[in-house]
């Protein structure tokens, strides 16, 4: 709940209004602004602030202002078969392209049973969990993956060639929250190491390598070096698969070929590749029976004996689900420097920035 000195909570709807206005102010059509901001606000609500307005709103706007990402998103179909499609996002907004791709996967899976839609010339699309949940709402299983600028060396290497290459899965449940696994294939994000660097704290061994490819517990050396994949060579393998399937197969960029990171506003278009797979549950089992089985499977896990000092066993996505319930009440916390950035942005764009919610619990 607390956000620290000078930070404050904001009503989700107030932040939504602000962020949509910001996108419209740089030329994004209202409906696309709504899609994009919904993805960001949902990430904030789920506690994934790295993918919320907190971190990505300003980079998105700046890249549009610099002409490196287009405000108006046109999506065209390059190849299409009954259960596949390849879409070209023409350097539009990642969220708009990804939502279109997931909708098409859901529609095709509704007809044939399963579908796999890839996109090229896309951009950072926010949290994959968002698109996964679109499938869940249609009683479908989802798998989503995307690539991006390099941050991770291959196993045994020292040059960043792979991105944090996230992969996400979603499985509908009945009365339990849907199972949503949305994970980077690294041990931690660069952002996490940044937090240690700011406080000059040592990072745990196993998070990163220095420039020479040696293990390090120095966050500054880690930031000059590379992140480590999760689970050693297994995570490297999974990360490479993500890159091959989302980047190489779609015709997008891959590996070391991205011109810059999200926050490097004037680097050329990223040409991100992503994939969106959907599988309709009722192709295999009646939906009600499936949801019942998932609920039982989850409860067997959650009610199983716990290890010492563990209060509770969670299913993937459950913490985020509960954070969402809480933040709908308490509001979305923003750190002081983000509030300050947003105030300047509002002035620059000639839009309103909302007041913080009075006591952090006044969200209507």
């Amino acid at each position: 709940m607390p956000v620290g000195p000078q930070g404050a909570h904001f009503q989700p709807e107030a932040l939504r209004t602000f962020a949509e206005a910001a996108f419209r102010a740089v030329g994004v059509p209202a409906s696309d602004a709504a899609i994009t901001v919904d993805n960001l606000i949902e990430a904030n609500l789920r506690g994934v602030d790295t993918h919320g307005v907190t971190r990505v709103l300003v980079p998105y706007l700046r890249r549009i202002q610099k002409g490196m990402m287009l405000p108006v998103t046109e999506v065209s179909v390059l190849r299409e078969r009954p259960s596949t499609a390849l879409l070209d996002g023409h350097n539009g907004i990642g969220q708009v392209i990804a939502s279109r791709a997931m909708q098409l996967a859901i529609q095709k899976a509704g007809v044939t049973g399963s579908a796999w839609v890839s996109v090229c010339h896309s951009n950072h699309f926010g949290a994959a969990a968002y698109y996964a949940q679109m499938a869940v709402q249609h009683d479908m299983v989802a798998m989503i993956a995307t690539n991006g600028p390099a941050a991770v060396a291959p196993w045994g290497g020292r040059q960043p060639i792979l991105s944090t290459n996230p992969i996400a899965f979603a499985v509908p449940a009945g009365s339990e929250p849907p199972v949503i696994l949305d994970m980077a294939t690294t041990v931690v994000s660069r952002g996490r190491i940044n937090l240690f660097a700011k406080q000059n704290l040592e990072i745990p061994w196993g998070w990163a390598l220095d420039e020479e490819g040696r293990p390090t517990n120095n966050p500054h050396a880690a930031l000059r070096g590379t992140l480590l994949p999760m689970a050693g060579y297994k995570g490297y393998g999974l990360s490479l698969i993500v890159d091959l399937l989302s980047g190489v197969l779609s015709g997008a960029n891959y590996g070391m070929h991205f011109a810059g990171h999200l926050a490097e506003y004037d680097r050329p278009p990223h040409n991100v590749g992503s994939l969106f797979a959907a599988v309709s549950v009722d192709s295999f089992m009646d939906v009600d029976r499936f949801k019942e089985r998932v609920d039982v499977a989850l409860r067997e896990i959650k009610e199983s004996p716990r290890a010492p000092e563990i209060d509770r066993i969670y299913a993937p996505g459950e913490i985020e689900f509960e954070t969402r319930q809480r933040r709908l009440q308490e509001g979305i916390p923003l750190p002081a420097e983000v509030i300050s950035d947003f105030r300047s942005l509002a002035t620059e764009l000639g839009i309103a920035f909302p007041d913080a919610s009075e006591d952090g619990s006044a969200c209507s």
Copy 2:
């Protein structure tokens, strides 16, 4: 190359003949014996002896003899749509069921672009890499997953509820070996810990928990406890997704509901669930161009600067590919106790057991 005291190398074709005869002797039709043994010999050739004749031949035969797995495999289609199918393996041999399922996925992906085939009432199917390669031979990408008897506690728990739940991906390449990632979602296998226990050596921290759910470096305590998932909560999440998609969605067993492990010969049928997804490359890109792009991506990684003391950077599946080349020449190494078991088995079944290859390099 060396197999240690009294171990020896055998020509792959000699072991194939022996193993096929063994399956036929317990009532398996010749064509199914050939499919099953091909999967086992390929695992041995690729150096994955845990999934070769070395470890699984005897359990398979015993389970058939005890009536716990059927010698004659009938596969029926329970549900079918253009890009999905649910197959019932009726407790036949896992390899025969899995091969049928992968063939159907390949056939459907050839028609619609992508496909997802699930099976229930199956058994241990050997190495998933085998089925992944079937797809590669058709210029398709594959994703395969399966569940099995519990060995891993959920994150925060101490009761084994999840299996080592492997997931495999395959991506065709051009002149590079195909990328084959076939991994258990645990840090290591039980078999690996067994090796430490036999020699009374400490295992590294992070591999397993003891019965009380506490971290342990004692292999005996680990064997009474549970394996740890790879990558902590991320591996737990991925393992659960594998179980939900291969077990719960197919109507097969899942979680803690398996009656016993592979080597517990007289435990009831396992009712394993698995999934087989195939995606045709040419739905997204001309196959030649794709293979070229994959080759370039792999070489960029393999030729990138190495970390200290690293001789070479490998792509997933490359070590196994090279082991296969070598073992085709040198033969398949079997430890002394396995040779002894196979000799007894040959006597019992009235079949011939081959001589070891003379000098380990005489395979024709």
